[in-house]
Amino acid sequence: MELISKITLILDLTTFLLILGSTIVGVLIGALPGLSSGMAIALLLPFTIYLEPNQAIAAMAALYCGGTFGGSITAILINAPGAPPAAATAFDGFPMAQNGKAGKALGMAAVSSVIGGIISLIVLIIFAPTLAKIAYKFGPPEYFALAIFGLSMLASISSKSPVKNLIGGLIGLFVATIGVHLTTGISRFTFSVDELFEGVSFVPVLIGLFAMSEIFVQASKSELLLERIKFSAIKLPSITEFKNCGKTILRSTGIGTFIGILPAEGGTVSAMIGYNEARRWSKNKDNFGKGEIEGVAAPEAANNSATGGAMIPTLALGIPGSATTAVILGGFQIHGLRAGPYLFEQQPDLLYTIFYGMLLANFIFLVFGLLGAKIFSRISLIPRGFLWPSVFVFCLVGSYGLSQSMVDVYIMLISGVIGFFLRRAGFSPAPIIMGIVLGQLVENSLAQSIIIFDQNLFMFFTRPIAMTFFILTFLSLFYKPIKNLLTERKRT
C-alpha cells in the first residue's frame, strides 16, 4: 500500500505546522468577505520559494481547503458570504442563525464540508487521470446545456412565488450582461465607466444583496425590544439531524466533484446546483430559504467537494479547475514543477503530499469548525445595535479590498439598496445570485457554440452530453404538469 506509507510525507513537524497554520489562515481569510483564498495564495507565493516544494504546495492546497470552508462562517452568522462559493450557504444558514440555531448551522456546515472534501479527495487520488479526460469532452455546447439545466430550477429555487423568482433571475441575468461581450467586443451598459468593462464584479454584488440589504432591514426595525438571549444558539446539530442530511450530502458531493472537474466552473456553480437539487428532492421543500438545515448541508458539501474536483484537471492536465487552482499552478511554476500528465508518473510524492495535505486540512477545519462553532455562534447573540454597524465596516472593506476600487464600493451600496427594496417587495436574493452566476456562462457558451456550429443551432442534436442535459431540463420543467395531466385523464 504505497498510498498509506506515503503519509510520512507530511508527518514532519514543519510540514504539519505549515498545513495547520495555512488551514486556519485559510478559514479566517475565507470568512472575511472580499478576501479570498486565491488572493491569499497569490500574496504568499513569493514567500513560498523559501520552503521545500512539497511543503509549499501542501500549504497552498491546505489554504485552498480552509478558505472554501471559511466562507460559510460569515454567510451563516452575518449574511455576508466570505467567498462566492458560500453564497448559497447564506440562503438557509442565515435564517437558521436568526432563529437561534447558529451553532447547528455552523456544525452542519463543518461536517458536510469535510465529508464532501474527503470523498472528493479519494476520487482525486484514485481516478484523477481517467476523470480528467471529462474536461476535454466539455466544449461550449456542453457548458451551455449544463447552464440551462442549472437555470431550469430558477422558478423554484426559493419558496417565494415562482413569478418573482423568475423576475429575480432575469435581473441577475441582466447584471451578468454588463461589460464587454466576449465574442463581439461590444461594451454593454458600461456608461464609459472603465471598471465596468470587465463586467460587474461578483463579490460586491454578493455583499450588497446579502449583508448590506440585511443592514437596511435591521435598521428599519424600530422597536427596541430586549431580545431574550438564546443560549440554544450554540448547540451543535444532533446525530439524527446529521443522519437526515446524509443523502443530501452525498448527492451534493457527487455534483460538486463532477462540476469541480469542469475547468470553467467551480465551487459557486456546484453550490448553486447542489442547493437546487437538495430542494428538489427534499421532503421539507417549503422550509428552504427559511432556515432548513439541509439547505446548509447541500451547498457546503458541494463547494468543498469541488475543491478536490477542481484539483483533478489542475494536477492531471495542468488546466486550472478554478481561480484558486490557477494560482496554485502558478506556485508550481515558481518551484520549477509542472502539473500535467507526467506528474502522476514522475512525481508521485508531490501528488501524495497534496492529497495528504488537503486531507489533513479537512480534519483540521473539522475540529476548528466544530470547536469554533460554539464560539462563533455567539456572534449571533451580539445585540443588533453593535453587530450590524461592524458588519457595515466589513461590507465596505470587503468590497473595496478586492481590487481596491471605489467603484466596487458603490456597486455594493447600490446592490444593497436594490436588494433591500426587492426583499420588501417579496423577492428572494437566491434567484438573482443564480442568474448572475450562470448568466455569463450561458451567454458566452452559446456565443461560442454558434461560431463552432457555423451558425447552425440544430448541431446541438449531434452532441450526446448536451442533449442529456437538455432532456433533464425538459423533465425537470415538465415532469409534474405532464404527470398531473395524465392522472386527470385517467380519472375522467
Binding site: I41, T184, D194, I229, H335, F386, V397, Y400, S405, I451
Partner: protein
C-alpha cells in the same frame, strides 16, 4: 454581567480585526508627499492591470523579491484592473515622474493605446526592462489532418479555420487575423476566457487551431494530443528546433506575449538607470531564472532599457497598423 463583558470582548476583537484588515489594505495607498532628492526615497509601486496570481502579477512579484534587496528599498504591487490596462495607465499618469511608480506593461496596454482614447500615449513612456517574452505558437489537434502550416492554410481557403484565442482585440485575436491576411486564408475567431480553456477546446476538437504560448500547450504536446505547426517569431524557439517560423514560410506575422516595466517620460535618466540596474540584477538571480525555466521561458527573455524601449515602440507601431488595416481603429 458576564454576558455583557463577553459581548464587549467579542466586539472589540471584531473591531480590531477589521482595523487590521483595513490597515493591511491601506498599505497599498502609501502617501506620496516627500519630494525625492535621492532615488529611491520611498517604496516603489509597481502598477499591474491584471488579477492576483495571473502571469503579469506573478512575474512582477518574482521580479520584486530580489529588486528590494538590490535597491535596498521596499516595493509593492498595486493592481488596477479595467479597460485593457487603461485603468492602470490613468493611475500611473496621476503620479509624479520620479521613478517611484512603475507600470508593468504588456501587449494588452499597447493594443489598448493603439485603439485610441487611452489615458497615455506610447510616447509618454520610457522602457526600463523586459521581463518575459513568450511567442505565440500555432497549435492544432494531433488527430487533425493538418500536418504542416500549409495544410492549415489550404483548409482555411475551403472553410474558415476555427481559430481559438482570448478576447476580441487582444494580441491573440490580432495575430490570428494578421496571420490569415498574410497567409491569404480565412479564420473564424472563437474567443475563450483564457489559455486553459483554449487548450481544452483544442484537445477536445471543438476548434481547429489556436494561438497559444508554448507553455500553455506544452504538456499536451509532449503527450501527443496536440501538434505545433509554426511559431510567430523571427527566429525558431530553442525548445521547438524543428518547428518553422511563419517568417520562414514567407508569412509576415511575428507576435509574442511580452512583458516588461516602464516609467513615465520625464523621469530623470539616472533614476531610470538605477531602476534598470536593480531589475536586471534581480532577474539574473536564480530566484527569477528558476521561475522563467518553470514557466517554460528562455533566459533571453530579459532585456535592458534601450532594447525594451525600442521594442515597445515597434510593437505599438505594428499594432496600430494592424488595427487600422483591420478596421478596428481609425
Amino acid at each position: 454581567m458576564r454576558g455583557i463583558k463577553m459581548i464587549k470582548k467579542i466586539q472589540s476583537l471584531f473591531l480590531s480585526f477589521a482595523l487590521i484588515i483595513t490597515s493591511f489594505i491601506g498599505l497599498g495607498q502609501v502617501a506620496t508627499t516627500a519630494v525625492a532628492e535621492e532615488f529611491p526615497s520611498k517604496p516603489i509601486e509597481v502598477v499591474t492591470h491584471a488579477g492576483l496570481g495571473g502571469g503579469t502579477d506573478t512575474t512582477a512579484r518574482m521580479l520584486l523579491i530580489r529588486t528590494r534587496k538590490n535597491l535596498k528599498n521596499n516595493a509593492y504591487i498595486t493592481p488596477k484592473k479595467g479597460d485593457g490596462g487603461n485603468k492602470a495607465m490613468s493611475y500611473v499618469k496621476s503620479k509624479p515622474r520620479d521613478g517611484h511608480t512603475v507600470l508593468a506593461i504588456t501587449p494588452t496596454h499597447l493594443f489598448r493605446m493603439a485603439r485610441g482614447g487611452a489615458a497615455l500615449d506610447i510616447d509618454d513612456f520610457v522602457g526600463v526592462a523586459r521581463t518575459t517574452v513568450d511567442p505565440i505558437v500555432i497549435f492544432v489537434n494531433a488527430k487533425s489532418p493538418y500536418k504542416t502550416i500549409e495544410d492549415l492554410i489550404k483548409a482555411g481557403n475551403k472553410k474558415p479555420i476555427k481559430y481559438g484565442g482570448t478576447n476580441v482585440g487582444s494580441v491573440d485575436h490580432i495575430s490570428g487575423l494578421i496571420f490569415a491576411r498574410e497567409a491569404k486564408t480565412k479564420i473564424a475567431f472563437v474567443p475563450f476566457e483564457g489559455g486553459g480553456a483554449i487548450m481544452t477546446n483544442l484537445v477536445g476538437a471543438q476548434i481547429d487551431a489556436a494561438g497559444l504560448n508554448l507553455d500553455e500547450g506544452k504538456d499536451q504536446l509532449e503527450s501527443g494530443e496536440l501538434r505545433v505547426l509554426a511559431v510567430m517569431a523571427d527566429e525558431r524557439l530553442s525548445a521547438l528546433p524543428d518547428t518553422p517560423t511563419l517568417k520562414e514560410k514567407g508569412i509576415n506575422a511575428s507576435f509574442a506575449t511580452v512583458r516588461g516595466v516602464v516609467v513615465l517620460k520625464g523621469t530623470p535618466p539616472e533614476t531610470i538607470a538605477k531602476l534598470e540596474k536593480g531589475f536586471l540584477k534581480a532577474m539574473a538571480h536564480p530566484v527569477y531564472q528558476n521561475y522563467l525555466t518553470g514557466a517554460g521561458l528562455d533566459a533571453s527573455s530579459v532585456a535592458g532599457s534601450a532594447a525594451w524601449d525600442a521594442e515597445i515602440k515597434k510593437i505599438y507601431k505594428e499594432a496600430r497598423a494592424a488595427l487600422v488595416s483591420l478596421g478596428l481603429a481609425k
